[in-house]
């Protein structure tokens, strides 16, 4: 009997308190974003789609050493080397299979030339599987760059050295 009274008391007095909580949120601004019209800025270390860096004069940084492929836990990277006009080593073929890739960032960590980075982009859906094999041309940053190269280098250095702006 006592239990039942208690239960009735709870049902009448305590349970409606929950509605106050939900009611409160009707008058608050929603926390959700109006995606895809608005996007959340990703953290500086975010591991998105890869890109290959260039030196300021436009030559590729990647020397096709294969360390990124060795570090890749998913075996997603394939490359073949060649020599450029100046007799320097570079990649003839450099492919990342984004369907295999698990975005662990090990390639970025392994690269001794600071050539490969994981960018901020996370929307890369497509219609067929072949287009997920990203080739070197698709990954190389355009030269001359559209954005301010100085800013870009600072951003890259920040990523590598683990320092970030606090904003």
């Amino acid at each position: 009997m006592k239990d039942i009274l208690k239960a009735i008391g709870r049902a009448v007095f305590k349970t409606p308190l929950g509605f106050l909580v939900t009611l409160k949120y009707i008058f608050k601004k929603p926390v959700t974003l109006d995606y895809p019209r608005k996007k959340k800025p990703m953290a500086p270390r975010y591991r998105g789609k890869h890109y290959l860096e260039r030196y300021d004069d436009g030559t590729e940084r990647c020397v096709c050493c294969g360390l990124c492929a060795a570090a890749c836990p998913a075996d997603a990277i394939y490359m073949e080397p060649e020599e450029n006009e100046n007799g320097e080593r570079r990649a003839k073929i450099y492919e990342i299979n984004l369907l295999r890739c698990i975005f662990c960032g090990f390639c970025e960590e392994a690269c001794p030339e600071e050539a490969i980075f994981l960018g901020q982009e996370y929307e890369f859906s497509n219609y067929d599987r072949n287009s997920f094999i990203y080739t070197k041309d698709e990954m190389l940053v355009p030269h001359p760059r559209k954005d301010n190269p100085f800013k870009r280098i600072i951003r890259r250095v920040r990523r590598v050295y683990g320092v970030e702006d606090t904003k």
């Binding site: 709870r10 953290a43 392994a110 001794p112």
Partner: protein, 390 residues
């Protein structure tokens, strides 16, 4: 008079309330469950075997994918095990940072549990609120390691990057904000008669049975057994922290709910202590040839560069021998058994996943109860099928 026959009912593997691809074979007599048999294996990914075929450092991302709601705990368990095998001593700062992150992970996991569990019981709002709070923790993950779920942030011998600059500020924000929110969940649920009816005296397991089923984590503590690996067998600097182990009394779903909510508060307490006491120092141990040197050294120092190449291409050789390292993951005892054989990949990796052991007691929880309470039983166990099947 018509003959009565028991009905066999298949629940899952695509049932929304089985939290993944768990299948439960139920034998029903009317609405009463006579027999329940959990069937697992629908999400088997061979993670243990994959880890065995990889170098030690390359096996790490696989651990993220077991209990994907608590990636940092898995990373931590694996790294501690390998560090034990290799006899690596990590810097003090790393220990404190890891403890702080592991506690955030516990909150993360419990928040998702709370939301989805009460969603199964018919309460629709808490899931929206808990996921909102979880977002703050995921933001911290993202700032630390760069990924929101598959963090791979805790590495063998330390962390992958240094802690982000505003780590302290962000975690303190959570510590300040979350208690109010937990109070909000309590207002919604703790005294809610519907919730009490659905969970009190449902899915009961006695303390003795809980021990016999070798349950761990909140499942065990909900039954009143005061056992927590963080206290019983401290790792990663947990002996420095002051916290309580909440326990339940009856071992029903309601008690487990209370235990988990209290655990979130205690986690906040630990996180605060970890932040206050975090010493300065390097974020990786200096063990040439085993732990990757920091990237800035690699670019400037020849020696580091050589070690960098060596570790990346051929890993490091672990001594012969086996270690077992257990940690208190959000769901219970997460153990890694790793046997090294002198080569650069493990001979055997065996994971003792808490969800797998805990879900085994499902028959004990369900049998004799109503079929509607099976959902409550599964929810209150808190399973992640990625971890059950591995």
């Amino acid at each position: 008079m018509a003959e009565h026959k028991n009905i066999t009912l298949n629940m899952g593997p695509q049932h929304p309330a089985t939290h993944g691809v768990l299948r439960v074979e139920l034998e029903l007599e009317g609405e009463t469950v006579v027999k329940a048999r959990p069937v697992i294996g629908y999400l088997h990914t061979g993670i243990e075997k994959t880890m065995e075929s990889k170098l030690y450092y390359k096996a790490l991302p696989a651990t993220d994918r077991m209990d994907y709601l608590a990636p940092m705990s898995n990373n931590l368990g694996y790294c501690l095990a390998v560090e034990k095998l290799m006899e690596i001593e990590v810097p003090e700062k790393v220990k404190w940072a890891r403890a702080c992150l592991a506690e955030l992970t516990r909150i993360n996991s419990h928040l998702v549990w709370l939301g989805t569990h009460v969603l199964d019981l018919g309460a629709l709002s808490p899931v929206l609120y808990t996921f909102r709070e979880r977002e703050m923790i995921l933001d911290i993950y993202e700032a630390c390691g760069g990924q929101r779920m598959m963090t791979s942030y805790i590495r063998i011998g330390g962390l992958s990057h240094d802690l982000p600059v505003d780590f302290d500020k962000k975690v303190r924000h959570i510590i300040d904000v979350l208690p109010e929110k937990i109070l909000e969940y309590e207002t919604l649920l703790t005294e809610n008669q519907i919730f009490i009816n659905r969970t009190k005296n449902v899915a009961v397991i006695s303390a003795e049975d809980a021990v016999n089923w070798s349950l761990s984590g909140p499942m065990l503590r909900g039954s009143g057994v005061k056992h927590d690996i963080r206290k019983a067998n401290p790792y990663s600097g947990y002996e420095n922290f002051d916290f309580e182990i909440p326990v339940g009394e009856n071992g029903d779903a309601y008690d487990r709910y209370k235990v988990r909510l209290e655990e979130m508060r205690q986690s906040l307490r630990i996180a605060r202590q970890a932040l206050d006491g975090m010493p300065e120092g390097p974020y990786r141990a200096h063990v040439p040839g085993v732990v990757l040197p920091p990237k800035e050294d690699v670019l400037h120092k020849m020696e580091s560069m050589i070690f960098h190449f060596k570790i990346i291409t051929e890993g490091f050789k672990a001594p012969c021998g086996a270690v077992y390292q257990a940690i208190e993951a959000p769901k219970g005892e997460l153990g890694f058994y790793i046997a090294g054989d002198g080569t650069n990949h493990p001979r055997r990796v065996r994971v003792r996943p808490p969800s797998f052991v805990n879900i085994a007691c499902l028959p004990a929880l369900c049998e004799g109860g109503l079929v509607a309470d099976v959902v409550c039983a599964i929810g209150s166990v808190d399973i992640v099928l990625g971890e059950v099947d591995r």
